[in-house]
């Protein structure tokens, strides 16, 4: 019984939140890793791209809500998502046209592109602040819980409750769908394969007649979709605040590097590694240990290894460990 309680508590406080968060990070890291693989630069503006996409989705959600349209038990933001993706894709394509294309044509180094993306970050950040401001926004509607702690307790008779918020379930389902679709696209379609070929060997791709501009456009659209979906899911799960999205840059990059920059599988694995370490190290284990250890050994402290304020330190520590032990990441990616 105690073991069951421990398991439920663990699931409730660690496994479920970390899985949802990991899926969000994985989607973010996928966007970063695609940029690295195909466009060959580290895009510092990715966090702000996520913020922009989420902002558009929120605006569209409000628009739908004012029209009285809703998705029933699901959050309205899910219907608004295509709008967010489309506008973000348009923004990224416009940015590429006005900014990045020039440097790509001149074969600028990845270092220059990174710096250029700092400028883009300022602009996007400015736009988001201008339009929606710096305050926190909540935009989740629909059912709050898939399984509520009370129902669970009543159903099972356990002391510990298991709550699964709908945003967590939606995150998981959406992320899984997106990942499957992305891998199907990359591995099965002509366009997806041409993208991988371009990432692998740009000159040979040109010789094979692959249109570089088309590959770049497809990549930006995918990045826009991934960033908007990741941002919206994160916003539904927690809340939307532009600055938080900037701070997501660190765990997202850590995830992408841990998995191996440029490797999509790595980005996903990295996302979950970072999320589970972050949640695991900042969770107070007192409860779980209390159930599993014999009465005399139960701890009296919180057994929290790190305060939640230091969760970004976790990404950083893992990043440092990986850089020290296996700098190429767990999966081999591209090299710039």
């Amino acid at each position: 019984m105690d073991l069951l309680n421990a398991l439920v508590a663990l699931t409730n406080f660690v496994i479920v939140p970390a899985t949802a968060y990991g899926a969000q990070l994985a989607l973010g890291a996928l966007g970063v890793t695609l940029t690295v693989a195909v466009l060959r630069f580290t895009n510092v503006a990715h966090g702000d791209t996520m913020a922009f996409g989420t902002m558009v989705t929120i605006l569209a959600t409000w628009g739908l809500q004012s029209l009285g349209i809703s998705a029933g038990p699901l959050p309205t933001a899910l219907i608004a998502l295509p709008v967010g993706i489309a506008v973000t894709a348009w923004l990224l394509l416009a940015t590429d046209r006005m900014v990045y294309r020039f440097y790509r044509r001149n074969r600028a180094s990845s270092a220059i592109l990174l710096i250029v993306s700092i400028g883009v970050m300022f602009v996007m950040n400015g736009i988001v602040r201008l339009v929606i401001g710096v305050d926190e926004q909540r935009f989740d509607d629909g059912a709050r819980f898939l399984v509520s702690a009370r129902d669970f307790k009543e159903m099972t008779g356990l002391d510990e409750g298991l709550a699964i918020r709908s945003s967590q379930a939606i995150t998981l389902v959406t992320a899984l769908t997106v990942m499957v679709a992305l891998f199907w696209f990359l591995n099965r379609t002509r366009s997806g394969k041409s993208m991988r070929a371009f990432a692998d060997n740009r000159d040979l791709a040109l010789l094979s007649g692959i249109d570089p501009d088309r590959v770049v456009r497809i990549t930006w659209v995918l990045v826009a979709a991934l960033a908007t979906i990741a941002g919206t899911l994160y916003g539904l799960d927690k809340s939307f605040k532009p600055f938080t999205y900037f701070q997501l840059l660190l765990p997202i990059f850590a995830a992408a590097i841990v998995g191996g920059l440029g490797s999509p599988v790595g980005a996903i694995v990295g996302g979950f590694i970072i999320a589970f370490s972050e949640v695991g190290l900042t969770y107070a284990w007192k409860k779980v240990l209390g159930y599993t250890l014999p009465a005399g050994l139960a701890p009296d402290g919180l057994v929290q290894l790190l305060g939640t304020e230091y969760k970004n330190a976790v990404s950083f520590l893992i990043l440092v460990l990986v850089l020290l032990i296996k700098p190429t990441g767990l999966f081999r990616g591209t090299s710039t």
């Binding site: 630069f41 580290t42 510092v44 900014v99 020039f102 990845s110 270092a111 220059i112 990174l114 710096i115 250029v116 700092i118 400028g119 883009v120 970050m121 300022f122 602009v123 996007m124 950040n125 400015g126 736009i127 602040r129 201008l130 339009v131 401001g133 710096v134 600055f243 900037f246 701070q247 840059l249 660190l250 990059f253 850590a254 590097i257 920059l261 402290g301 290894l305 305060g307 304020e309 230091y310 970004n312 330190a313 990404s315 950083f316 990043l319 440092v320 850089l323 020290l324 700098p327 090299s335 710039t336």
Partner: protein
């Protein structure tokens, strides 16, 4: 110095004077002082990026460490707090460091892979547990000492000027750790690593109240210059002010700011001279050779990573120095206000706009971009006032007027992108 350089710096002077005549001399001197500090930050980053091609995206962290130094050096110690848990806390920190040293040493000694991993993990866990056992009660005791006004250990009570080089040392220490890990790998790894360390430094400053009161801020840091009140009460000063046709209050604030400007200018000039000397010495030529062709330099037997580490530490130390100066100027350490866009990426804009690789370029960028940073807000406000004139009063107009304050970041981005595109080597290109 070319005519262009001189013209550009005259422009800066003109802009500051214009601010003085059109707005207020207090604002003008604020821009001058922060311009000097920004110029020093830009100098540090320019050493890293401009001379060595290293990505430091963690300027904010190094600047904040300088600020911490100002507190730890100049604040008076809090004896009650020391009595409550000082030694125990030091012991805890010592245990932490010893654990790390032990883990590293053991990691190096043991050859067998699984044995090595097992022992390091066990040692690290034991050390961490011991550290927390020592640390937590000490921290709680210290933070319980009169939390409204102190609740921290205080500093050494030394003159604040000593904090400036100490700030540089703090930053250098952090840079050494980062550099050891991330240099010699892909260039963008350093970017992410510095981004990470700066976030962590800020988290520590915000949350470790025993160290520098966290978000409760440390205010009233002792000054290297006289206080306005004392000046105003000094009959000699009041007399001189009256002779200049100024009232004593205005005169005292201006005088204090000018004193700061003098101190800062001395530091800036010294740093510029030093970096020019270094750049023209064989060391500087080698640095540039490495930046321009790393592979060739490595082939000629240069230890590229070591050189990179040197310049990375030096540049970060300069940022730390600037951070200590800034905190001294503010008279307070407010960890809540450190934002990467302001303290990391704005410095990047400065270096890019000024001219990466050119010492004076970075300095110029520091002044110009800071000027812009301050002035965009009133300008944007005025512009928005004019633009929204035809609109009826209401939510939209209100929102637009309010959001004008956010024009800053957009402007910085646009300026940076325009410079990168049309003057990629900056306003003062490297020769």
């Amino acid at each position: 110095m070319t005519a262009r350089t001189i013209a550009m710096f005259l422009l800066v002077l003109l802009l500051i004077l214009l601010t003085g005549f059109l707005q207020s001399w207090n604002t003008a001197l604020y821009i001058l002082n922060m311009g000097l500090v920004s110029a020093i930050m830009a100098l540090g980053l320019n050493a890293q990026w401009g001379f060595a091609g290293l990505f430091n995206v963690g300027v904010m962290g190094f600047v904040a460490l300088g600020g911490l130094a100002a507190v730890l050096v100049s604040e008076p110690p809090v004896p009650e707090a020391w009595a409550a848990g000082g030694p125990r806390l030091l012991l805890a920190l010592g245990t932490g460091l010893a654990t790390i040293a032990l883990v590293v040493a053991v990691h190096k000694r043991i050859g067998k892979r699984w044995l090595r991993i097992a022992t390091t993990v066990i040692l690290a866990c034991l050390g961490f547990a011991l550290y927390r056992m020592l640390f937590d009660p000490a921290r709680d005791a210290i933070e319980a000492v009169d939390p409204a006004t102190t609740g921290f250990l205080g500093g050494l009570g030394l003159p604040v000027l000593i904090a400036w080089p100490v700030g540089g040392l703090f930053a250098a220490g952090a840079a050494w750790i980062i550099g050891k890990t991330a240099l010699g790998l892909r260039s963008d790894y350093l970017a992410i690593a510095t981004l990470g360390i700066s976030e962590i430094i800020i988290s520590i400053l915000r949350n470790e109240d025993w160290l520098a009161r966290g978000v409760k801020n440390v205010v009233g840091i002792p000054r290297p210059v006289p206080y306005e009140i004392d000046l105003q009460q000094d009959p000699g000063f009041a007399g001189t002010a009256a002779g200049l046709g100024l009232d004593p209050v205005t005169a005292s604030t201006l005088y204090v700011k000018l004193l700061y400007a003098g101190l800062f200018a001395i530091v800036l000039v010294a740093l510029v001279v030093l970096s020019q000397l270094a750049l023209n010495a064989p060391w500087g030529r080698m640095m540039r050779a490495i930046r321009d062709n790393e592979t060739a330099a490595a082939a000629m037997g240069k230890d590229v990573t070591r050189r990179h580490l040197q310049v990375f530490i030096l540049g970060s130390a300069v940022c730390g120095l600037a951070g200590a100066m800034m905190t001294t100027l503010d008279g307070q350490l407010t960890p809540g206000t450190y934002q990467p866009l302001r303290f990391t990426f704005l410095v990047w804009v400065m270096v890019i706009v000024g001219g990466s690789g050119n010492t004076l370029g970075g300095v110029l960028g520091g002044f110009l971009v800071f000027f812009l940073w301050v002035q965009v807000e009133p300008l944007g406000q005025a512009l928005m006032q004019v633009l929204t004139l035809p609109l009826p009063d209401g939510a939209l107009k209100g929102h637009l007027l309010e959001s004008a304050a956010q024009m800053r970041l957009l402007t910085m981005g646009v300026v940076m992108l325009l410079v990168l595109r049309f003057a990629p080597r900056g306003l003062l290109p490297e020769r």
